[in-house]
Symmetry: C2
Subunit: 243 residues, 2 copies
């Protein structure tokens, strides 16, 4: 009898440690997410306010974001090798490493936006595009936030909403680009500055794509189905199958 | 005695199966790589030859590439759950899932290039930029090829060369973009078409980034060190440490 109790204790101890490892990994990812979210909002602010000092600080902090990704991946390797997770635990670990890559790329885009913001504050402002950058910027920032909240709460419905939002960001992006092209043709002297704003919009649209990717990993994590590339209709069926 | 032999046989059998699983995974990745490489070269050809039929076929085949990624990731999950690989085997599995993501994104960029090629064949050709697209195109295609060869041969030196190539692609890209901006200002009527070529160059530059990522996973795989974000100097030290 005492031996069994001991073994129970050990099993409990091991599974407790395992849960701690998984929690730590998830917290690490969410902390990285928080840092990346701030990078995006700071980059947009630096652009809108022509604040090159803030822009420079965004570019410097990109290094921290990069190290966060490497550190998450180290942790992922450790958990995989030591704990040999299965089923939903394994999906959590895989989702963490995939999401970390997308967060790192969002960080890269934020850093690029900061760079264009700095250029524009030096060249003089672009004549158009700030309203659109602010609007699409707050849209994709919310997508990143929601994707991370969905991750934190294992909420597939919220994740599906993020995937659907991406379509409307794409529409906003296309319409803003069309307007900027028209403006360029009317005033060729503004081309260089308008191009800078175009690259900013492009980066924002990419951030939306990455938020969508993270949301898709959340659905995979919660539902166990890989929903990438299957279209929103079938994705909905996956998320709502048990209703 | 017969029991030991049996157990030896089983161990051998299991490890044989394990190796088969790893080989299959690696072959799957290399097959996906081959398909993606062809997508890139077809997309560039469709652009240069204004061959919208070829462009359409590239866009259709992107679905196959997407399924290849999903299938590799399914295999990765299966190998992780059943075989519980450690050390270099685990690194191989992780490198496969990471590289598959980059290959899928290269496929996306090829599909975009095909789309711009189709637009240009309808709008009439851009007045500039084809020479640059062809040149940078064959450069990044070679990077993708070399990154995959490095993967196939576990060759860290070749991978390091790919990482270094990315710098020169970035230089070529920037110089081509500068020229196109100048041209746009001189002939504003060409803006829409020149922008399409600019997006093509941008996609090519991204393909170079993804090839670089794959090369970095190869170094991680062979050397066991995560060399992302550490700069080429320190990367060289990692690759050549044992010489």
């Amino acid at each position: 009898m005492p031996i069994e109790t001991k073994s129970d204790e050990i099993t409990h101890h091991i599974s407790q440690q395992f849960n701690n490892d998984l929690d730590e990994l998830r917290n690490q990812l969410l902390a990285m997410g928080g840092a990346v979210e701030k990078q995006v909002s700071d980059a947009i602010r630096a652009l809108i306010d022509a604040d090159s000092e803030l822009g420079l600080s965004v570019r410097e902090k990109d290094t921290d974001i990069n190290y966060m990704e490497v550190s998450i991946d180290e942790n992922v390797s450790r958990v995989l090798a030591r704990r040999q997770p299965a089923a939903s635990d394994l999906r959590l670990v895989i989702a963490c490493t995939k999401a970390a890559t997308d967060l790192e790329r969002i960080g890269d885009e934020a850093s690029k936006i900061a760079r264009f913001g700095i250029s524009l504050s030096e060249q003089g402002e672009a004549p158009r595009g700030y309203v659109e950058a602010r609007h699409i910027g707050s849209h994709v920032r919310k997508m990143v936030q929601d994707a991370l909240n969905a991750f934190a709460r294992f909420d597939a419905d919220m994740a599906l909403a993020v995937v659907q939002e991406d379509k409307s960001v794409d529409r906003e992006y296309k319409s803003a680009m069309r307007e900027l092209v028209t403006y360029m043709m009317e005033d060729p002297r503004s081309i260089t500055r308008v191009l800078n704003i175009m690259w900013v919009l492009r980066s924002l649209e990419r951030i939306g794509d990455h938020a969508r990717n993270i949301a898709e990993y959340v659905i995979y994590l919660v539902k166990g189905t890989d929903v990438r590339h299957i279209g929103i209709k079938r994705m909905k069926a996956e998320v709502f199958e048990d209703i």
